[in-house]
């Protein structure tokens, strides 16, 4: 398949995925809150309402970085999807080191979320930005460990090779600690639930407290795009990506992405968030050793 066609498929994948993610999120929230009635397309309508409202700037904002943080975040989610092979021969970014490229995206997310909180020159947004960095940085280590573990049996840092290495057995079974740790990273990248240290309720919206109109809509869309990008990467690295019988690869990938997405959305509504200092300790003292263990087990399994 040509790259252009793959790019088109990816675009459709992304847009449909965002819609489904938004609906799923609404559905899950309502179900848990015990609310009945109301259209599930509410997020779409909300976006339309948001776009038709005024976009307020603050007193002395960093306008350029405000804009770049939103569009950049959107880009990173899309790049996440672009490194994922949609089928045996079709991938937008077919790089030998696509796992490292995804790692670079993760680190740029920290930069952009920080910028999003820094730019409006508003106290609560600033606190959210700095707090996110405290968690966003160390939690990347977990992802690096589990992705390296996933790369071991493939003998390659190419996501395509990682998918094909799972033909016999998915990594989620071979390396049972990997996916849960990686999903924690996903919660942090998409600013959700227990790892939402940027846009949380105790800061009345945190980094997005000053977003109105187009900025708010754009930021929510960017968060959704990161959710899709992340879920697709997780599905490829741990659930065998496009592999599957009968149906075309893209459909399998979509199913698996949806599964990961559902888990993330469910966890984000179900798990409580602890104060940041505690989470910082938890990452370094508990989760990081678990990631070590994951790598060790993966190494032993790969040699066996």
């Amino acid at each position: 398949m040509s790259v252009a066609l793959t790019l088109m498929i990816m675009l459709v994948f992304m847009i449909v995925g965002m819609l489904i993610a938004a609906v799923l999120d609404t559905f899950f929230y309502r179900w848990l809150a015990g609310r009945t009635g109301g259209s599930l397309l509410t997020p779409l309508y909300a976006a339309a309402a948001e776009v038709s409202r005024q976009r307020i700037s603050t007193e002395a904002p960093d306008r350029m970085n405000w804009f770049l943080s939103i569009s950049g975040f959107l880009t990173l989610g899309a790049i996440g999807l672009a490194v994922v092979p949609l089928g045996p021969q079709s991938v937008v970014i077919g790089l030998e080191t696509s796992v490292v490229l995804w790692g670079a995206c993760e680190s740029l997310v920290v930069v952009l979320v920080f910028l999003h909180g820094w730019s409006p020159n508003s106290p609560l947004a600033l606190i959210g930005a700095y707090r996110y960095v405290a968690i966003g940085l160390p939690i990347m280590l977990l992802s690096m460990f589990v992705l390296i573990a996933a790369a071991l049996p493939a003998e390659s840092l190419d996501l395509r090779a990682i998918v094909t290495s799972q033909e016999d057995l998915w990594n989620v079974i071979r390396q049972p600690l990997g996916l849960p740790l990686f999903i924690l990273l996903g919660l942090s990248l998409t600013l959700r639930g227990p790892l939402d240290y940027a846009d949380s309720a105790d800061l009345a919206g945190g980094t997005s407290i000053e977003d109105s109109g187009a900025n708010r809509a754009g930021w929510q869309v960017a968060r959704l795009s990161m959710l899709i990008g992340f879920s697709a990467v997780a599905a490829s690295a741990f659930l065998g990506g496009y592999l599957g019988p009968v149906l075309p690869g893209v459909v399998w990938l979509a199913f698996k992405t949806l599964t990961i997405m559902t888990v993330i959305i469910a966890l984000s509504h179900l798990l409580a968030r602890m104060p940041v200092a505690r989470m910082l300790g938890l990452i370094w003292k508990v989760l990081l050793p678990i990631a070590f263990l994951d790598l060790l087990l993966a190494g032993l399994v790969a040699l066996a």
């Binding site: 002395a60 960093d62 350029m64 970085n65 790089l95 030998e96 080191t97 490292v100 490229l101 790692g103 670079a104 680190s107 740029l108 920290v110 930069v111 920080f114 910028l115 820094w118 020159n121 700095y130 960095v133 940085l137 990347m140 390659s156 840092l157």
Partner: protein, 276 residues
């Protein structure tokens, strides 16, 4: 096509590198530098050095983030709300820039650069890995020890709770005999605020009262930079500390006079931009 991409990326890299010294906001400066590095990483991609290129982006994003945190933490006027001059010792830096440029150009032009194009499809990652586990194993393990030393150094220098107790009090050197008076200099009174005890000449800790003064009242910057993190100030190449109280305007006569301290960063101050 590759040539166009190369020139395009180089142009952005140079332009954003230049912006680092022209913008007022520390955050913009930091991330302009990051953009510059990203472009260099992309150029490495063009040269089929996939891993080096992508890893550059990865590392630089993280490192610039951390550098940005420290820049904002220790720099006066971190957001550049008042325009300022990022370059200090103007003539010297121009001279140094020209010398460095000529030196590098000469080096590049006169060196006999190796010319052995990689066969297409060669797995450079594998070569790198084999080398790390083979010939370069000693280097690799030494890097581990070096990084450990870096970690320990960073922790010792910047952590408040150190081996010798809380650093506010722990900055006092141990006595010559157990339980004896601290060796060396006398400890300042009211050392509860201390921590910068060793840097003398920072008058006016009763600053709460003149907090709202118009002037800058921020003569401590240089000290803290030295206190909290000497390791990092090396990373701030060029725009390290600030002069103590070198503000021509807005100095409030009521304020305790700031003594210029004998301070490693002296003379490196970021000064208010000259009036046109």
């Amino acid at each position: 096509m590759t040539d166009i991409a190369f020139y395009f990326l180089s142009a952005i890299a140079i332009w954003s590198g230049w912006r680092v010294f022209r913008v007022d906001s520390m955050i913009r400066a930091t991330f302009a530098l990051m953009v510059s590095f990203i472009c260099v990483g992309a150029i490495a991609l063009l040269m089929s050095a996939d891993y080096i290129g992508v890893a550059t982006v990865f590392m630089m994003a993280v490192e610039m983030m951390v550098m940005g945190l420290f820049m904002v933490m220790f720099m006066m006027n971190p957001a550049g709300l008042n325009p300022m001059q990022m370059v200090h010792q103007y003539r010297l830096s121009i001279g140094a820039g020209i010398v460095a440029f000529i030196g590098l150009t000469v080096a590049v032009l006169t060196t006999d650069l190796p010319h052995n194009p990689l066969p297409a499809g060669r797995d450079t990652m594998r070569d790198l890995g084999i080398n790390l586990l083979g010939n370069s194993m000693l280097i690799f393990e030494t890097a581990g020890v070096t990084l450990l030393a870096t970690m320990l150094g960073a922790v010792i220098l910047s952590s408040r709770r150190g081996r010798f107790g809380v650093s506010d009090e722990g900055a006092i050197p141990p006595g010559l005999h157990p339980g004896g008076t601290p060796a060396g200099r006398k400890v300042e009174e009211g050392g509860g605020h201390g921590g910068h005890g060793g840097h003398g000449g920072h008058g006016g800790h009763d600053k709460m009262t003149d907090e709202k003064d118009d002037g800058q009242g921020t003569g401590h910057m240089g000290h803290e930079m030295a206190d909290a993190d000497p390791a990092l100030s090396a990373g701030h190449t060029g725009h390290g500390g600030h002069t103590t109280g070198a503000n021509p305007e807005g100095a409030d006569p009521k304020k305790p006079k700031q003594e210029p301290a004998p301070d490693p960063h002296e003379g490196h101050g970021t000064k208010p931009k000259k009036e046109h």
